[in-house]
């Protein structure tokens, strides 16, 4: 009855609810935080002229161009390009424009250096696809203009850097020319274009940079062929490898005369060590070679003679050359030695004459140095100082100067691939967390200030103090669990294979852990397909255990590559254990069972359809055996258009006895006709979703029973022709089919065709409904559809007396094999935005109404009430339906500007939205990630179960005190009066 009265109150509440959930300006940053990142740096160009702020312009693997402050590493400006607009090269021209070449060399843009505004954009076309190269000719001045030379798509362009106009262009017709370098010899108007043709022909073109005139064309054949990268050792000498990778070729094209010098690598290093690879760099006279794990530095001494300078097996990274004075070049070299890195800056002409040698302690969790960028500055004593920007294995960016790390950026967080959450430790007695707590006086002062604010007595300074107090509240960033469950750890896994724990209160990094065990070269060569699962979530009886997560990866691109597992403690970030598996990992299935220490049972399916049970304990196998016949799984083969269902059969029949391995058999398969349908999206319910009730009370006290099976799969297929871009097909040859499939029996519960529609489909499945988004070609608009599924076989269970006495079978376990009769209701609406991601709010008990969280194309998150996507909406709802909260039907879903969860911010490069329930039923935590991170709390039906943050406790307290005082005073007065009455 208590619940019913509660629900009744809730209903009362809803009836007064208006759907807008917005935020006041001063509430920004109270419960939300936003962090900006750029991703792994690919290329960096320094801009450190004497005047103006010192900055570095970088391009990254997340397609970001950013200008960073060299002093603090902050972002001055940043642009996130589209995912298909990959940046090929950046440079600075005429001291004020950043030139970027992107989209496979077809778009050249100039950005204003101080503020990042785009100045011009040129589209460069060419006859064929090729490597794209960008070269800014700084010493060729034409009317104060720098000419930008771009080689792209088999064509050489010269572009004016002032307005982006193409000055001249030159095609290279040679059908198979593979251009390797575009070189400008210093102090000349010439440009060399060198490349390989037909794999054994070396081609050299000499071009006048002023007008594009072809001055000379030479070619020479080398029978051995060429392999991989080339390294430029002078403006007229190249070093390349022959096709076997064992002979070094020094190619000189001085004065248009091409000559080859061959030097077998074994001559240089004594014995053959295996295939070599040239590390591309641009240091005059020196190049480096990687043979296995050994790095060899070789100098070219005139006429193709080679000399080995150093041979080292330390992990080494080299920067490009930096010209420090007339004709002098320097470069930086970083070597790993234990927990330190050694930075050496050497002049190009003298290997042993170090300009700088420093040792810097480096956090092991950052891994190896991947890239080095060097820059110099002039010290007060007129000598040269060097600063070095390094990119680490975990994608972080650090600036080293004078033997110290000046700043560091955790840009690995720009490429999150999986997210899960963990609770914080419980507050223990004796642990001095109370230190963070304000003392009583502070508390009272704070509340007095707030009271002043509410009574509008506060001065502007007071207001500022209130605001900063609210923002800096130590309460939200404590390292212990809170009563409302707002404080949690977000465990995120980045593409670099690093785990971060972020505090939900302020987004700071609590710990980070590079999965070393997965990165060991002997264990795993190319680690891919990482995923994160909750391994152990202790509550109730296993409270003293720390929670842990499971990271699953695969060593190599093929499906048969062996898998690796790593278990990480989420309180400390320490790796508990790691396993290199003998079998492959095709699928990971978390089972709904846990053992006595709250470790979740996981089933790992390998490529041969064997199921492996983890953890490998007798207890786990005991639990598993009990449920053996009830465990199924399905696999989606989207290439073949087949969905298959499997069941477990028996223990593995391999030569090695393994009691944790099980054979499986195929139960059913759904085959989509390949000529008419192609799977484009599948979605299921979240495993941890909580549903409060199976009944839905509709108008006039009627009941509908939701079909709440966890084993439902939503599949969307589209016509194969229509799986391309929007608009590439006519409406007649395009269709979209949505299915609801029971994954235990393979039964198709519902099928609906949308004619004239096409993908991409974004869908979300929750409770008994699925919402999906697609494009309608007939009306040229995006649409969203909802399907709700109800259990018709229970619809007759409406006898009140049976229900009162509990003589019903509504809560008895149900089986998919009982073939429940279902009905579906669906409706479609237009929607203005195209979207990147869609999610739904989830709360602790599932009572609160739901909101859809829509990641729009503008990288914002929009909250849309599920009530707008209710298939029972009609144009003229009856009075009873209105009371129930049904909104009159409109053809367009409204976008209320106030319901943007991200308010004024953008989550650049939005990839995913994760919702986590807080302990407080009304509230859900939302984490959106992309290049940026954004976190906030949402209350889809408002915070009906708690007082708002700005509730004035002081006012309440004072009111109570005043009331009590008034009671006493009036009591005394009345006593006195009564006495006087009696004496009269």
């Amino acid at each position: 009855m208590a619940i019913r009265s509660f629900l009744f109150l809730l209903l009362l509440f809803f009836s007064s609810l208006n759907p807008i959930l917005s935020l006041y300006e001063d509430q920004v940053g109270l419960m939300d935080w936003h962090q900006q990142f750029i991703g792994k740096v690919k290329q960096a160009v320094f801009h450190t002229q004497k005047t103006g702020r010192k900055r570095v312009v970088v391009s990254t693997e997340e397609n970001v161009i950013a200008s960073l402050d060299l002093r603090h590493g902050e972002i001055f400006w940043r642009h996130v390009l589209a995912t298909n607009d990959v940046i090929d090269g950046i440079d600075i021209a005429i001291g004020k424009y950043v030139i970027t070449l992107s989209s496979g060399g077809s778009i050249l843009r100039a950005w204003n250096l101080p503020d990042g505004q785009m100045v011009w954009e040129s589209s460069l076309q060419g006859p064929k696809h090729s490597k794209s190269l960008l070269l800014v000719l700084t010493n060729l001045k034409v009317d104060k203009d720098n000419v930008v030379i771009v080689f792209t798509n088999g064509r050489l362009h010269a572009v004016s850097s002032i307005d982006g106009e193409v000055l001249w262009k030159k095609d290279f017709e040679a059908e198979s020319l593979d251009v390797q370098q575009v070189i400008q010899p210093p102090g000349s108007d010439l440009v060399y274009v060198v490349g390989f043709a037909a794999s054994s022909q070396f081609e050299m073109y000499q071009i006048n940079a002023r007008n594009g005139e072809l001055l000379k064309h030479e070619s020479a054949a080398f029978s051995g062929g060429f392999l991989g990268e080339v390294s430029l050792v002078s403006s007229e000498t190249l070093v390349a490898l022959d096709s076997t990778g064992s002979i070094l070729l020094t190619i000189s094209f001085h004065n248009g005369k091409i000559s080859f010098q061959q030097t077998p690598i074994s001559n240089l290093v004594g014995d053959s060590l295996g295939p070599a690879a040239i590390t591309p760099s641009s240091v005059t006279g020196i190049f480096s070679l990687k043979v296995n794990a050994i790095t060899i530095f070789i100098r070219v001494i005139g006429e193709g003679k080679l000399e080995v300078l150093e041979k080292t097996n330390l992990k080494t990274a080299v920067s490009d050359a930096l010209s420090i004075s007339e004709g002098k070049q320097a470069f930086a070299l970083i070597q790993h030695a234990g927990s330190e890195i050694h930075l050496t800056v050497k002049p190009a002409d003298d290997w042993d004459g170090n300009l700088l040698k420093e040792s810097i302690k480096m956090d092991r969790q950052r891994g190896l140095v991947h890239k080095v960028f060097i820059n110099n500055y002039i010290r007060t004593d007129r000598s040269y100082g060097f600063r070095v920007l390094i990119v680490m294995e975990d994608h972080s960016l650090l600036l080293l100067q004078q033997g110290e790390i000046v700043w560091s950026r955790e840009d690995g967080l720009a490429s999150i691939i999986d997210v899960t959450t963990s609770e914080l430790p419980v507050e223990k007695d004796g642990v001095s967390v109370a230190k963070v707590e304000h003392n009583l006086f502070e508390w009272l002062k704070g509340h007095m200030l707030k009271l002043k604010g509410t009574l509008m007595l506060a001065s502007p300074e007071d207001m500022a103090a209130i605001q900063s107090m609210r923002l800096k509240s130590s309460e939200k960033s404590k390292m212990t669990r809170d009563h409302n469950g707002f404080r949690k750890l977000l465990i995120v896994l980045t593409r670099a294979g690093k785990l971060f724990a972020l505090h939900t209160g302020d987004g700071r990094i609590v710990w980070s852990h590079l999965l070393q065990s997965l990165h060991k070269p002997q264990a795993c060569q190319h680690l891919i397909g990482l995923n994160l699962y909750q391994w152990q979530v202790p509550h109730h009886h296993a409270m003293d255990e720390n929670p842990s997560v499971l990271v699953v990866g695969r060593c190599g691109p093929s499906l048969d590559a062996p898998g690796v597992l790593s278990f990480v403690d989420t309180y400390t970030g320490k790796e508990l254990s790691s396993l290199s598996l003998a079998h492959s990992v095709a699928q990971v299935i978390p089972l709904p069972y846990t053992d006595s220490t709250e470790q979740r049972l996981h089933l790992l399916i390998d490529a041969d359809q064997h199921a492996h049970l983890y953890p490998k304990t007798p207890e786990a196998i005991g639990i598993f055996q009990r449920e053996f016949s009830n465990i199924y799984w399905y696999s989606v083969e989207d290439d073949n258009g087949i969905i298959k269902g499997h069941a477990l059969k028996s223990k593995c029949t391999s030569e090695v006895a393994d009691e944790f391995c099980f054979d499986s058999r195929e139960l059913w398969s759904v085959v989509f006709p390949s000529e008419s349908e192609k799977i484009i999206a599948t979605v299921t319910r979240k495993l941890n979703e909580v549903v409060h009730t199976q009944a839905k009370v509709i108008a006039d006290q009627d009941v509908m029973y939701k079909y709440l099976s966890r084993n439902l799969l939503f599949v969307a297929t589209a016509a194969p022709k229509a799986s391309g871009e929007i608009g590439s097909v006519t409406p007649e040859e395009s269709w979209l089919v949505a299915y609801l499939i029971d994954t235990v029996t393979g039964r198709i519960l519902h099928r609906v065709t949308h004619h004239g529609s096409q993908g991409p489909v974004h869908a979300v499945f929750s409770e008994n409904w699925v919402v999906y988004h697609y494009f309608n070609l007939r009306v040229h608009r995006y649409e969203m559809s909802v399907i709700e599924i109800y259990d018709q076989s229970r619809a007759d269970d409406k006898d009140v007396w049976k229900l009162v006495l509990g003589k019903h079978n509504l809560t008895s376990p149900i089986s998919s094999y009982s073939r429940p009769e279902v009905i579906t209701k669906s409706q479609s609406y237009f929607f203005t935005h195209s979207l990147k991601s869609i999610a739904v709010t989830s709360t602790a008990k599932g009572i609160t109404s739901k909101q859809l969280l829509i990641g729009t194309i503008g990288d914002q998150v929009l909250a849309l009430d599920k009530r707008f996507l209710d298939p029972r909406r009609s144009v003229n709802p009856t009075q009873a339906e209105k009371e129930e909260g049904i909104i009159p039907l409109t053809d367009l879903l409204p976008i209320i500007p106030q319901s943007y969860v991200t308010h004024a911010l953008r989550v650049e490069g939005l990839q995913g939205i994760v919702t986590v329930p807080a302990k407080l039923e009304s509230t859900t935590l939302v984490f959106a990630h992309g290049v940026d991170l954004f976190f906030t709390q949402l209350a889809p039906s408002r915070t009906y179960d708690s007082l708002t943050e700005d509730f004035s406790y002081a006012l309440l307290l004072i009111t109570i005190v005043a009331l009590v005082a008034a009671i006493f005073v009036t009591w005394i007065l009345s006593e006195r009066k009564e006495l006087q009455e009696k004496w009269r």
Partner: protein, 179 residues
Amino acid sequence: MEKGKGVMGSGRRWAVDFSDNSTAPSSRDIPDPPGFSRASMDQDDSAVSRQKKDAEANWKAQKAWEVAQAPFKNLLMMGFMMWMAGSTVHLFSIGITFSALWQPISALQGVGKVFEPYKDNKVDLLGPKLLFIALNLGGLALGVWKLNTLGLLPTHASDWVSSLPPAQEVEYSGGVIPL
């Protein structure tokens, strides 16, 4: 018997009992005045007092019936107020409904007390009491009916299943698109 205390209930603030029938002068503190004979007076007044008693009993019975009929007016007024309150759930209608439920219940609890003043061995109170109870039950029924029209009575299936947890599933099927 205490003097100065009303025995006839409402309308009489005090009374002196002149009908002291005791014959023994020794039982009184004050001796009878000279020439006063108790025996003769008794015989004179007996007829008058019987008449009085009958009148009183009649009056009591009449009053009891009046009291018994009082809830009827209440009932009418309640009905009017309920009609005014409408059938939507809000503070006013809930307040009226609950008072409509509470009044008959409290009245029924105090049935004995209400009819106490009219207790007399000559008056038959069963009739008025039954009427009183019946009318109050009618009021109660009206309240319950109002409660039902407001939809606050668990008479529908929806009231019993609205918090029914989802049924457990026997089978479990998992799987995702391959990594």
